[in-house]
C-alpha cells in the first residue's frame, strides 16, 4: 500500500524550494542588470586616457554602490537558508561585482576602501568590508564571499587588465602596460602557489598565463622601441 501523503509532502517541499529560488532570482536579476551597466561604464576605461578617468570612476562607483544595495538585500534573504544550498543562484553575479570592484580600485577608484595605499587591489577582507558581508566563513552557515568566488573575480580582473594593456598603448599611455605587467605577474605567481584540482578554478586560472603573455608582448614591443618612460617601469 502506498502512502499518498509521502508524495504530497514531497510536492510541498519542491514548491517551497521553488518559491525561495524565485525570490532570490528576482534580486539576482536586479544585481545582474546593475552589473551590466557597471561593466559598460568601466569598459570606457579602454578608451579614456588615465588623466581623464575620474568621472568614469565616479560613475562606476555609483553603480557599484547600487549593486552593493542589492547584495545587502540578497544577504538578508539568503541568511535565512543554508548558504551552499542556493549559492549557485548568485555566485556568478557576485563574482562579476567583485571583479568590477577590483578593476575600479586598480584604476584608482574606491580609494577610501583600501587599507593600504600602495596596494593596487583589495584583499578579500577589504572587499568584504566594502560590501559589508563576511568572507570565507568556515563555521557559520550564513551568506558570505567564498575564497573561490574571490579568486575567480581576480582572474576576470586579470583578463580585463590584459586587454587594457593593449588599449593603453593605443591611447598613447606607454607606462600603464608596464604597471599592468608587474601587477598581473605578481598575481600569476600567487595563483601558481595554489594546488588546484580539476574544477572551475583550475580551468579559469589556466588562462592567466595567456593574459600574462599578452601583456608581456606589449611591454616587449614598447621596450624594443624604447617607448617606455624612464623611472616608470616599477610603479
Amino acid at each position: 500500500m502506498i502512502d499518498r501523503t509521502i508524495f504530497e509532502s514531497l510536492q510541498s517541499k519542491i514548491d517551497e524550494e521553488a518559491a525561495v529560488r524565485d525570490e532570490l532570482h528576482e534580486i539576482v536579476q536586479t544585481l545582474a542588470r546593475n552589473g551590466r551597466s557597471t561593466t559598460a561604464i568601466l569598459s570606457r576605461a579602454h578608451s579614456t586616457p588615465s588623466d581623464q578617468l575620474k568621472p568614469v570612476l565616479d560613475e562606476a562607483t555609483r553603480e557599484i554602490l547600487a549593486q552593493k544595495e542589492q547584495v545587502t538585500r540578497l544577504k538578508a534573504l539568503a541568511d535565512k537558508h543554508p548558504f551552499y544550498k542556493y549559492n549557485a543562484v548568485w555566485t556568478r553575479e557576485l563574482q562579476n561585482l567583485v571583479s568590477s570592484i577590483e578593476i575600479c580600485a586598480w584604476l584608482g577608484g574606491l580609494e577610501e576602501y583600501k587599507c593600504n595605499d600602495s596596494a593596487s587591489f583589495l584583499t578579500i577582507e577589504e572587499v568584504g568590508k566594502f560590501l559589508d558581508i563576511p568572507v570565507n566563513l568556515k563555521e557559520q552557515d550564513v551568506f558570505h564571499l567564498t575564497i573561490e568566488e574571490y579568486l575567480l573575480a581576480l582572474i576576470s580582473m586579470i583578463e580585463e587588465l590584459s586587454r587594457l594593456a593593449v588599449n593603453s598603448v593605443t591611447l598613447g599611455d606607454y607606462a600603464r602596460p608596464v604597471q599592468i605587467g608587474n601587477f598581473i605577474k605578481d598575481l600569476f605567481a600567487g595563483f601558481q602557489l595554489l594546488n588546484l584540482k580539476n574544477d572551475i578554478l583550475r580551468k579559469r586560472s589556466d588562462g592567466i598565463k595567456y593574459s600574462v603573455k599578452k601583456v608581456e608582448d606589449v611591454v616587449y614591443d614598447l621596450s624594443l622601441r624604447k617607448l617606455i618612460p624612464k623611472g616608470n617601469d616599477a610603479a
Binding site: 500500500m1 519542491i14 529560488r21 600602495s118 578579500i124 552557515d141 594546488n195 584540482k197
Partner: protein, 266 residues
Amino acid sequence: MAGTKRTWDGKQLSLQPTNPTMTEPSTQILSIFETFRNELDEHHDRRERLTKISRDITALSKKIIFSLQRIRKINAPLPPHITTETQTRFTQIQSLFNSALPDLTGPNNWRYQRQLSGAVQEFIEALSFHHYLQWQRLISLREVVAKLPAEVLVTGDDYLLGLFDLTGEMMRFAVTALSAGSVEGTGGLSGEQVGIVVDLREMRSLFEALSVPPTHGLMRDLGKKMEVMQGSVEKVERAAYGVLVRGSERPVGWMPDLSGGDVGGY
C-alpha cells in the same frame, strides 16, 4: 625594459633599482595566496574523503539490495540469514556516515551535499526496499532521517530519487516472484503479487503527478529516472499479464525476460 644598461659581465643593471619597490606588494600577494592554498587544500581533502566514503556506502547498499533480491516472500519478517547479512552492512554504513561527520560541520553539510548525495540515494534505495519487503509500505522521509546522524543531509530530492530507484528493485523482485511459481493451479495471482503490481502502478501515477519547476535542481535527473520507472512498471504489468494468461502453460523454472524493452519477454 628600456635602456638595457649592463655591468661589465653582462648582468642587467636596470632591474636592480626596480626590485625593492616590486618585492613589497609581491610578498604581500604571496602570503595571501599561501593562506588561500591552505584553505583550498583543506577543501580538496574534505571533498576527497567524502567522495570515498560515498563510494563505500554505495557499494554496501548495493550488496544489501542483492541480498534482499534473494528473498521470495513479501510483507513478512526477513529470513534470519538475510537479516544478519543486511544488519552487518547497515551497521557498516552507519559507521561510514559517522566517519563523515567531522567534515560536515557548519556550512559544510550543504557544501559537500553533492559528494554525499549519491550515497544517500543508494542508501535510501536499500533501506526503502528493506522496509517494503517487510511491511509492503514505503518508508517515509522522516523514518529515513531518523536512521542517519542528524548532520547528514537527506534532502527531499535524494529521497525522491531513491524512491525512483526503489521501483527498479520492486520490478526485479516482482518479476522473479511472479515466475517463482506461487501461482496456484488455477492460474490466479496471489494477493501479494497483485499487491506489488498495484503499488507500482500507484507510485507511477504519483511520480507523474509531481510538478517540478524547470529551475529546480531535480530537473537534471528527473527525465531519465521517470522513463526508467515507467519502463519498470510496464515490465511488471506485462509479466503479471503473462503469468495470468499463460501461467499454466509455462514450463517449470521459466523466467520472464527482463532485458526486453518493448518486445515482451516471451
